[in-house]
Symmetry: C2
Subunit: 383 residues, 2 copies
């Protein structure tokens, strides 16, 4: 399953010794064709890790033959040496696989500001290549874990073609670590421009709307590789929908595995004047530390929702705002609504609806509560 | 001291029964003239509490005779009834003091979305008026506390004139509560336009640069009242500097009393292309939850500083960024600098310098670490 659910792909995951604890830390995903079309989206952080800078270049040709992914080190903020290390990684994979280095994408995740142990990583590529298999998707997904408690995979199959993928990430940014990494594969027979269009459409409404702690990684990467091995060329809408489903599923898995979280919070903004407004408001609510603490305490503190809405530039009138928490409209017309004691917050999923009463656009942002465990996981004393 | 350090002012602080625990909760500050010039700055949150909406109107005339402040309830998101309650508060004070209601400013702090117990508040105004005193500044400062562990006052005296003040606020936004409230008084003989200019110049570089948890209150208010009772008209620069000093002192007291904090973090951005860039970068660093957790764990995690800088629109080149933590340049040219083990983080104050290498502008933002205690204080289960 995972990245090898689609025909034309092999993968492997091994322990190369990059992580000191001996856990799996190196994954290889190879596209055996006949096509090698690819698309990618990358972090919008202006401080980009070396593998992001490299892979952005690799994607420009619209072709990717293989992806090397490592956990145990982000290779971010590592200067020219870090970039040379990424380059050497791609060269090594190209040599072992008999492909061009510029068709090898590289993804790294782990601590920022630390050089990778290349004496472990480079030999590991050879070892991984020797284990490439049509059943290697699961092992690859395991090898990219950092603070993830579970590995994440998803597959959607249609009439003769498949989209599958793997993801790592515990929230958006892990402790001392970085990165959400996602590799999607398909055996649909499609070119890189179609892949790019479908991937951007999908990530815009899935991964881009998962916001665990408001912190943007230096390494975030989502790749989509097509082998064409099914011989089927699906219609764009069908294909885009399948990609969106896989992204949505993987995004949900990221939310459910967020560091220290005890609640998954679905922030749904409705009746906004525009989708941009809905996203801005949803993000502002999702990033409000006070609200996230209140939700952790199972306190339906709608005042903090209004306070968060009030910091945005969205179109709204304060005295027309409505807020529901788990189905109870606790705020009506900007003021006290139904009795907050009616709100049942015992379950892990919490649903907040913010009604801007300003139009018809909607957007949903997923986030988590803020907990003492999050603080512990992200403070050095916990490691 | 406090708001009664300057001549021409009386104040009182009493327990009116607004807080269920019987602690002081109502303060009155009265300007006995001869002048009653005033200026104010208010929250930029678009969801404004009733007392903010009222006081903004009151300030338009440039005259304030008295300020009524209550803790125990923010009177925010309380609809038309909440606004009527603020209006009734001003009317009552005006009646008791023999002034016009439109010259009475009102400030409230406490839970959002709850109506004030007017049957307690209105009689309390009469009680407080009967206790007005030139020595009442301390009691007034105590009566506006919410989760503050200490009351906050500051005084600067110059040749024959004085600027004094009081503040409440534990960080920028208190648990389930809201609001930073500040009342400054001076006996300098100055008009409202000069007060306004000096106050805006001071708050811009003091309170506006204290950012405990990134959450913006619905009630933030800073008032400056001038009695002219000293008969001295200081030069603008001298006066503005005195106001800035008092605001800076009170702002520092807010930082040191922030909820659950174990570290006070000074984020100094240097060599920015513009002051706007410096402020944007400083704020982005100060709001990064991952960094705030790392500082709590005494981990000089400079990668999280770079990651925060990378999310801004400021002018910089990633490979020219430098970061010092407590005097050690742990990041040089966007990469690994001095040994992070050299950083001593045992003390409460932490000093981060972010060098953008893009110009000559600077700005300093003050924030706190993110702790399990912050989560506890802001979750309902802690109350």
């Amino acid at each position: 399953m995972s990245v090898t659910a689609a025909k034309g792909f092999t993968a492997a995951g091994i322990a190369a010794g990059i992580k000191e604890n001996g856990n799996p830390d190196l994954a290889l995903v190879v596209n055996d064709g006949p096509r090698r079309a690819a698309a990618g989206v990358f972090t919008s952080n202006r401080v980009k890790a070396a593998p992001v800078l490299w892979s952005e270049q690799a994607l420009k040709g619209g072709q990717v033959s293989a992806v090397v992914l490592n956990s145990g080190g982000a290779n971010a903020c590592t200067g020219p040496t870090g970039f040379q290390d990424t380059h050497a990684t791609a060269e090594k994979a190209a040599e072992v696989l008999g492909r061009g280095a510029i068709e090898v994408a590289v993804c790294s995740t782990g601590l920022i500001g630390v050089l990778l142990p290349m004496d472990k990583l480079l030999p590991g590529i050879g070892t991984a290549a020797a284990q490439l298999s049509e059943h290697g998707g699961e092992k690859a997904a395991i090898a990219i874990k950092t603070t993830d408690t579970v590995h994440k995979t998803s597959v959607v199959s249609r009439d003769g073609w498949t989209v599958g993928g793997m993801a790592k990430g515990a929230g958006m940014l892990a402790p001392g670590l970085a990165t959400m990494l996602v590799v999607l594969t398909t055996d649909a027979d499609l070119g890189d421009e179609t892949l790019d269009k479908a991937l951007r459409a999908a990530t815009r409404v899935t991964f881009d709307r998962v916001d665990s702690d408001g912190c943007m990684s230096t390494n975030d990467t989502v790749l989509l590789l097509a082998s064409g091995a099914s011989g089927v060329t699906p219609g764009y809408d069908d294909f885009a929908e399948a990609v969106r489903q896989v992204c949505d599923d993987l995004g949900q898995q990221l939310v459910r595995d967020a560091e220290g979280a005890s609640k998954d919070i679905k922030v749904e903004v409705v009746n906004a004047a525009s989708e941009e407004d809905a996203v801005e408001v949803g993000r502002s609510i999702a990033r409000n530390n006070l609200l996230k603490c209140a939700i952790h305490g199972e306190d339906p503190n709608w005042g903090r929702v209004l306070s968060a809405i009030g910091t945005t530039r969205a179109v709204f009138e304060p005295d027309r705002l409505n807020v529901a928490i788990n189905g109870v409209w606790v705020c009506e017309n900007g003021s006290v609504g139904a009795d907050r004691d009616l709100v049942d917050m015992r379950y892990r999923e919490v649903h907040i609806v913010a009604d801007l009463a300003a139009g018809t656009a909607t957007a949903t942002i997923w986030t988590n509560d803020l907990t003492a465990d999050y603080v512990h996981e992200n403070s050095a004393y916990s490691s």
